[in-house]
């Protein structure tokens, strides 16, 4: 790749930069002798700009979208420091300093509730959701028939591609008051139960939905790691008389420890984010006390409630803490000798 670029410098870049002119007249004054020397140095930026103009035009639409919808919104965070008035031109609303952050610093009950729910959900999901794909991957990996393994994978990966609207609807149809299971119980004279819309069981419902949707999909990385384990280790362990369980403990689990640690740390780095779309769809039935998390707090107060400044302030703090957590998690991953999401 490098060689091709320097090659083109000589072939095309050189000729296209000459008409720029200024450079030519100044160097031309001091005779032709220093020119090869100058040429061997890096091309001036404008000649590289002209040489690579086609590439820049190609990158333009993508970079424009990235800047517009990923970086420009960062500026929008200024309304966290304003009493935002929707009909004034952008940036014209009065400044209020840190007033909007008062809900965080003074511990507004609704905010504290949202924060607590978020952390409880994260904790429950790290304990219950995180190990599930590891167990499933071990189970799939222990299957001797490649055909059965592939068939099971095809079925279990599918829910990952369904939208949250569909997943929530499916759960209602199965577990709801007139759903599949309750219908079955009713027609067989047994007691029915209510899970959907029951605020006491909401955490369990959300967790089971996440597991149903993504456990199969999450096995992919673990299965890839499992396939990298040297088969001779199993043979050696087996020769030494290790049972299948001991082989799992001494060969399999150490073999995938790296990816487990990495994914766990990344999940913890994402602690403040829990199933936004999933919860928004189901908040109606269970009430805010049980279901409000930080992301829904921002949505309900900002876009629904019109408290733009407060919502932006909470979103800003959440985003900043989130970036710190991701960076911190990555740092820890490096310290533990694993590759993080990005290198160096």
């Amino acid at each position: 790749m490098e060689s091709s670029v320097s090659h083109t410098d000589v072939a095309t870049g050189d000729t296209s930069s000459r008409p720029v002119g200024l450079d030519r007249t100044t160097t031309g004054m001091s005779s032709g002798a220093p020119r090869p020397f100058l040429r061997r140095r890096r091309n001036p930026w404008y000649s590289r700009l002209i040489r690579d103009r086609a590439l820049l035009v190609m990158a333009l639409p993508g970079m424009a979208l990235l800047l517009l919808f990923q970086y420009l919104p960062l500026l929008g965070n200024v309304i966290a420091f304003q009493a935002y008035v929707p009909f004034l031109p952008f940036g014209q609303s009065p400044w209020v300093g840190l007033d909007n952050f008062a809900v965080i610093f003074n511990g507004d009950p609704a905010f504290v509730n949202a924060l607590r729910n978020t952390l409880v959900l994260t904790l429950v999901q790290v304990i219950l959701v995180f190990p599930a794909p590891i167990a499933l991957a071990l189970l799939l990996n222990s299957l001797l028939s490649e055909r059965i393994k592939r068939a099971v994978q095809s079925v279990l990966y599918l829910p990952h591609f369904l939208s949250w609207v569909i997943v929530v609807a499916v759960f209602q149809q199965v577990l709801g008051g007139s759903g599949m299971i309750n219908n079955f119980l009713r027609t067989h004279g047994a007691d029915t139960f209510s899970i959907i819309g029951n605020s006491d069981l909401f955490v369990g419902l959300l967790t089971s939905q996440v597991m149903w949707k993504d456990t199969g999909w999450a096995t992919i990385l673990f299965l890839a790691a499992l396939s990298q384990i040297d088969a001779s280790l199993y043979e050696a362990a087996s020769m030494d008389g290790a049972s299948r369980w001991r082989q799992m403990w001494h060969v399999t689990l150490p073999g995938i420890r790296g990816i487990i640690v990495l994914l766990l740390i990344l999940r913890l780095g994402d602690s403040l984010t829990v199933g936004f779309e999933q919860i928004i769809l189901q908040q109606g039935g269970v009430g805010l006390a049980a279901s409000e998390v930080l992301d829904t707090y921002v949505y309900n107060n900002g876009i629904v409630g019109g408290q733009w400044g407060v919502a932006a302030a909470v979103g800003l703090v959440k985003g900043a803490v989130g970036v710190l957590l991701v960076l911190g998690a990555n740092k820890i991953a490096h310290l533990l000798g694993e590759n993080g999401v990005y290198k160096s």
């Binding site: 790749m1 490098e2 670029v5 090659h7 083109t8 590289r48 040489r51 086609a54 590439l55 190609m58 990158a59 639409p61 970079m63 979208l65 990235l66 919808f69 990923q70 420009l72 919104p73 500026l75 929008g76 965070n77 309304i79 001797l144 490649e146 059965i148 099971v152 095809s154 990966y157 591609f161 939208s163 949250w164 609207v165 609807a169 499916v170 149809q173 199965v174 759903g179 599949m180 219908n183 009713r186 149903w212 199969g216 992919i220 990385l221 299965l223 199993y234 043979e235 087996s238 299948r244 992301d295 921002v298 900002g302 876009i303 919502a311 979103g315 985003g319 960076l327 999401v341 990005y342």
Partner: protein
């Protein structure tokens, strides 16, 4: 993944194959897991097809239809809310995927030419954007300031570029042998020619996968439509599904716009909406499934 994992399994077999009891336990667990995914769909399709008498008798949910009736599908495709939402979803998905693919491949190609003007800073901007999400309120304000509220562009442009997909594409483009592009250069081809004549034809498989990922994303999105579109007449299918199935809003004949006197039972209509939302995913799924593991792993390794 498939080729490498096949080998250890075959080598281990003669040494100590699991006994019958453990095989039976595994079999039962796997069958239960698969049933937990498949059975709900069987029930949903069955209810959408069941006739009125059976739906009423069963109290709303049918697992095995005794007789098949297509009335609920005829009703939702008669030109009412659901038909319109279907058209919106298809339109947004097709246009959005085309834009996403075009923009992402062009950007990925530019970023794959190392040493070109601005390549490092642009790559840094793309990579850095993976670390944070801009936040709901600022995003909303940007869309509003750009005048995209109540426009279908609001469903497309904010999510049109996925930095992750750009990085996967870039990694793939960089793997194309330099000899191919170099020889084209020597023959006088510009970047656009190389991109269109050499890089794209060599990348058909990865383009198909990335395109499908984008398409599934557009098809599944509901939140953008919820906050950016005020007019419920513009809603895509997922929002209609939310309103009439999750929130259980009663569907009237005017909603359906069919002028049918005798509406099929509500559960059947609801399940028919659910089916038409799921079916497109099921159609592309076998193709996705064949390739996605590779795509995910490429991203994980190179990202």
């Amino acid at each position: 993944m498939t080729a490498t994992s096949a080998r250890p399994a075959q080598r281990r077999r003669p040494i100590d194959a699991p006994g019958a009891p453990s095989r039976a336990v595994k079999g039962v667990v796997l069958i239960l897991l698969c049933a937990a995914v498949i059975l709900p769909f069987v029930g949903i399709v069955s209810t959408s097809l069941a006739d009125r008498a059976q739906v009423n008798a069963s109290g709303g949910f049918v697992l095995f239809p005794t007789s098949v009736s297509l009335d609920s599908y005829r009703t939702i495709f008669a030109g009412g809310v659901v038909s319109r939402a279907m058209a919106v979803s298809v339109g947004v998905t097709v246009v959005g995927t085309a834009i996403s693919l075009a923009v992402s491949t062009l950007l990925a190609y530019a970023l794959s030419r190392q040493g070109s003007f601005g390549q490092r800073p642009m790559l840094m901007l793309v990579l850095f954007s993976l670390l944070f999400s801009p936040g709901l309120i600022p995003n909303y304000l940007v869309v509003k300031e750009l005048g995209l509220l109540n426009s279908y562009w609001a469903l497309i442009l904010p999510t049109a570029l996925s930095a992750f997909n750009v990085i996967v594409l870039r990694a793939f483009f960089m793997g194309i042998p330099a000899e191919l592009t170099d020889s084209a250069r020597i023959d006088g081809a510009g970047h656009l020619t190389i991109f269109a004549r050499i890089v794209l034809p060599l990348s058909k498989a990865v383009l198909a996968v990335i395109g499908l990922f984008y398409a599934v994303g557009y098809w599944n999105a509901f939140f953008n439509a919820l906050i950016y579109l005020n007019d419920s007449g513009m809603w895509p299918l997922q929002l209609v599904l939310r309103t009439y199935v999750i929130n259980n809003t009663e569907m009237s004949a005017t909603d359906l716009g069919s002028g049918v006197e005798n509406l099929p039972p509500q559960p059947s209509i609801q399940m028919a909406i659910l089916v038409v939302t799921i079916v497109p995913i099921l159609i592309v799924y076998p193709f996705l499934q064949r390739h996605f593991a590779k795509g995910v792993l490429t991203g994980a390794v190179k990202g």
